[in-house]
Symmetry: C2
Subunit: 199 residues, 2 copies
C-alpha cells in the first residue's frame, strides 16, 4: 500500500530509484527532506540542479570536473609520465584517498560488456590513445576491477597500447591487507601464490 499524498509518494519514488536505496530507506529520506528548514530544502534542490548542469568530463582524462580540466590534470605537481586507467570516477577517489599515487588518471566510464551492449566505442578509449601518441608517457597502469569484464577490458587495452611502445602494467593481485587467509577465495589465493615476492 503506497502513500496517498501525491507529492510525498513522488518523492519516495524518486529516492527509490537511487542505487542501493530500498523502500524503507527511501521513505526515511523523504521524511528527512520534509523536516528540513525551507532554506535547507531549497539548498538541496539547488545543489542537485547545479551539480548536474555544471559537472562534465575533463577534456583530457574523462574524470568529472566543473572546469575545462579536472583538478588532477591541472595540478602542477603530478607525475605526467604515468597514467592509471580506471573504470569510474569513484575509482579515482579511492586512489586519491590512499595518497600513494602521484601520476595521472584516465577514466573509461565503464567496461567492455557485450551482454550489456557496451563495446570499446562506448568507452573513453580514443582520447587515451591520443594521450599516448602525444605525451611523454612512460607507463600505463591498468586498474580496472578484478572482474571478468574488467580483466577483458584491460587485456583489450593493453593490446592496443603495446604497439605504441608504452609499457603497460597491472595492479597486483593478492590477499587484501588485514584479511583472514581462512576466508580468502581459491582464485585470490592462487594469484597470491603466483605473485609471491622475495623477502
Amino acid at each position: 500500500m503506497g502513500y496517498k499524498v501525491a507529492p510525498l509518494a513522488r518523492l519516495i519514488e524518486q529516492f527509490e530509484r537511487f542505487p542501493g536505496i530500498g523502500k524503507k530507506n527511501a521513505q526515511r529520506m523523504a521524511f528527512y527532506v520534509l523536516n528540513l528548514t525551507d532554506s535547507d530544502a531549497d539548498d538541496l534542490a539547488k545543489t542537485i540542479a547545479e551539480a548536474h548542469s555544471k559537472i562534465h568530463r575533463c577534456r583530457v582524462c574523462g574524470d568529472l570536473t566543473d572546469e575545462e580540466l579536472c583538478p588532477i590534470c591541472k595540478a602542477p605537481n603530478r607525475d605526467t609520465a604515468t597514467i592509471c586507467v580506471v573504470e569510474d570516477p569513484a575509482d579515482v577517489l579511492a586512489f586519491e584517498r590512499s595518497g600513494e599515487y602521484r601520476g595521472l588518471y584516465h577514466v573509461l566510464h565503464g567496461v567492455i560488456s557485450p551482454i550489456n551492449g557496451v563495446g570499446p566505442e562506448n568507452l573513453n578509449i580514443k582520447s587515451l590513445l591520443s594521450r599516448l601518441n602525444n605525451d611523454d608517457v612512460k607507463e600505463v597502469i591498468m586498474a580496472t576491477n578484478p572482474t571478468v569484464e574488467g580483466e577483458a577490458t584491460a587485456m583489450y587495452l593493453s593490446k592496443l597500447i603495446k604497439p605504441l611502445g608504452v609499457p603497460v602494467s597491472r595492479l597486483a593481485y593478492g590477499i587484501p591487507v588485514g584479511a583472514d587467509l581462512e576466508y580468502a577465495d581459491e582464485v585470490t589465493l592462487k594469484r597470491a601464490i603466483d605473485g609471491r615476492q622475495q623477502f
Copy 2:
C-alpha cells in the same frame, strides 16, 4: 581526502546528511545524479522542492498531507470511534500496510525526551485532547514505540486522557510472528508470558 570539484563535493555532502547514508553511499548517489538525463535531474530537484513546500500537517491528526485534511481523516469509510496514537508519519504507513486497522490516527511527531529537550509542549498533544473533547471517540490505542521514551509518553498521555472518560489501550507485547524463541530477549519473553492468552 575529499573530492576537489566543488559542486560534486557539495552534492556528496548534502547526501551524507541523510539518515542512514554513509560516505560511500552518498558518493554513489551523487554519481547517480550526475548520470541522470537533464530532464530527470530537473524532475528530482523539482520533486524535492515541491514536496517540501506543499506538504504540511493535517489540521486534525497531524499526519502529513498536501491538503487541509489528510486522506485518512477525509476518508468516509474509517471508524471514527477509534484513534491510534503514533510517534511518526512512518508509523501510520506501517499500520496502513497491514490493512488491519480501520480507525483514525493521531501523530505526535516525536516522544517526550528530557535528554533531547523534548517536552509535552513540543508534541502534537493539545489537538489530541480537543479531538477527545469534541468527537465521539470510544477508544484511544497507544502505539508509541516499545522504548523507554515511547512507554513514558504513552503513560503520560493515558493519565491525561483517562479523566476525559475515554478508555485507553496499548498494543500487545509479545513474540513477533515468525521469530525464533531462542533469540527473543528476556524482557520480551517476560511480556509474552505476562500477556499469555487462552486457547
